[in-house]
């Protein structure tokens, strides 16, 4: 038990020592995951809304594929991304393998179905009614789009935070395409996995605490600024 307690003591010491390497790893993790979430949002939200509010043949099949991709193992996504980005792969000429860009690509592939699936699900159920109601009140195409985004605001934010949570916490994809190169592609999760393998539990615990703090902070922001507004009426 001592090594666990000592691990926590050492973890807090490491956090408050503001170690430049730790800071660099945290910042890179945030950059990669925020970028992936941003691209995932730009792709997933419009597609999720469009697929959700329109009725078309094969919608059920599309939704099944979408939900399957939502739970795709990161390591498989990492593997396929690596196959495409590797020197001998179709995009080998861009020399993206083992770079933060490759990590962003892999995480974007990972989070886009998550964001798209959540938005699609809500757009399918409540979005169609909102569109119909907007139309009957005289809303034109642009008005309906604004109305829909505002009505799905909380859902979009939940999708975004869920996507970010999936991105920042995954290890398989970034390990494969990033390579966990010190000072270049090492992120929090690969750092934890590596140090755990080496028996350096204190730094693993320290990074784990930072990771949990980031998750808690982003969720708190969501509840405070978005969901809090809606909850206040529920008395």
């Amino acid at each position: 038990m001592d090594y666990i307690l000592n691990g926590f003591v050492e973890a807090f010491r490491l956090i408050f020592s503001f170690d430049p390497e730790i800071i660099q790893i945290v910042l890179l993790s945030l950059f990669v995951s925020f970028s992936a979430t941003l691209y995932g949002t730009l792709i997933g939200v419009p597609l999720g809304i469009a697929l959700g509010i329109h009725h078309f043949r094969g919608k059920k099949v599309v939704s099944r594929f979408l939900y399957t991709f939502m739970s795709f193992p990161p390591v498989i996504i990492g593997l396929f991304t690596a196959l495409f980005l590797a020197r001998s792969g179709p995009f080998g000429q861009f020399q993206l393998m083992y770079t933060p860009t490759a990590m962003i690509i892999a995480q974007t592939i990972l989070v886009t179905p998550v964001i798209m699936g959540i938005v699609f699900n809500h757009a399918s159920t409540s979005g169609y009614e909102v569109v119909q109601t907007g139309k009957t009140l005289g809303a034109r195409r642009w008005d309906i789009l604004i109305l829909l985004v505002l009505e799905l605001k909380a859902v979009i934010m939940i999708a975004l935070v869920t996507g970010f949570g999936r991105a920042i916490s995954e290890v398989g994809a970034v390990m494969i395409v990033g390579g966990n190169i010190r000072g270049f592609t090492r992120v929090m999760t690969t750092f934890i996995a590596m140090n755990n393998n080496m028996g350096q539990y204190s730094v693993s615990i320290a990074m784990g605490l930072i990771l949990m703090s980031i998750s808690f902070f982003t969720n708190s922001l969501l509840y405070h600024f978005i969901l809090g507004d809606q909850n206040e009426y529920r008395d």
């Binding site: 409540s126 009614e129 909102v130 119909q132 109601t133 139309k135 009957t136 009140l137 005289g138 809303a139 034109r140 008005d143 109305l147 505002l150 009505e151 909380a154 809606q230 009426y233 529920r234």
Partner: protein, 238 residues
Amino acid sequence: MNIETSHIKKIYKEKTVLSLDGQFSDLQFESGKIHGIIGPNGSGKTTLMKIIAGLIAPSSGAVLYNGQPLCQDIFSEMTYSTHTPTLFSRSVYQNIAYPLKIRKQEKNAIDQTVSQLLEEFEIDDIKDQSARHLSGGESQKIALARALSFSPKALFLDEPTANIDPKSIQIIEAALQKRNREQGLTIIIITHNLSQAFRICNHLTFLDQGSCLFSDTPEKIMTTSHSTIDEFISFNRF
């Protein structure tokens, strides 16, 4: 707005849910009147209304509005509300103001119109509450106030007073009759409440199993001898 339908047919998933032919192949909903559509469940009332409101396309047949086919300008002068209205997740005031905002009306004009409607529908005390967490009756009144806010020329209502208290029914009926009388608003209303149909409608259309069995004044439906209509009326009496 004068609305005419001609040989409307709607097939959904290979099943004919509405087919207006024979004596009542062409229906006319005259301008400035309150038209009731009545009939048992699954008779095609909502389908007919949605087709007239331009929300779904008929499989065949046509609908003309003042002699013209549906276009965006005509569509934006009509509105439709159901007994389960979709209210936006914003305040009651903002819901009623929405049609006016998208029509770029000035803030003072919006304020004035919304205040009048809040007072008329007796929902002034809940104007700042979220419209998402209200009772059925309140939601119905908000939806109707919102629908009337931009003074449409035609109003389509699918059971607007279902499951709400008598006072709210009275408020809604009074608001409809006032708009019809003062602004010549054409109203088409689906109702299961025959006494309501007799109270406010100038014209009734009876549908059963996708066909029209009657389309005339409320007085005449009482003298029509048709077993389905007789049964419907007798059930409504008790």
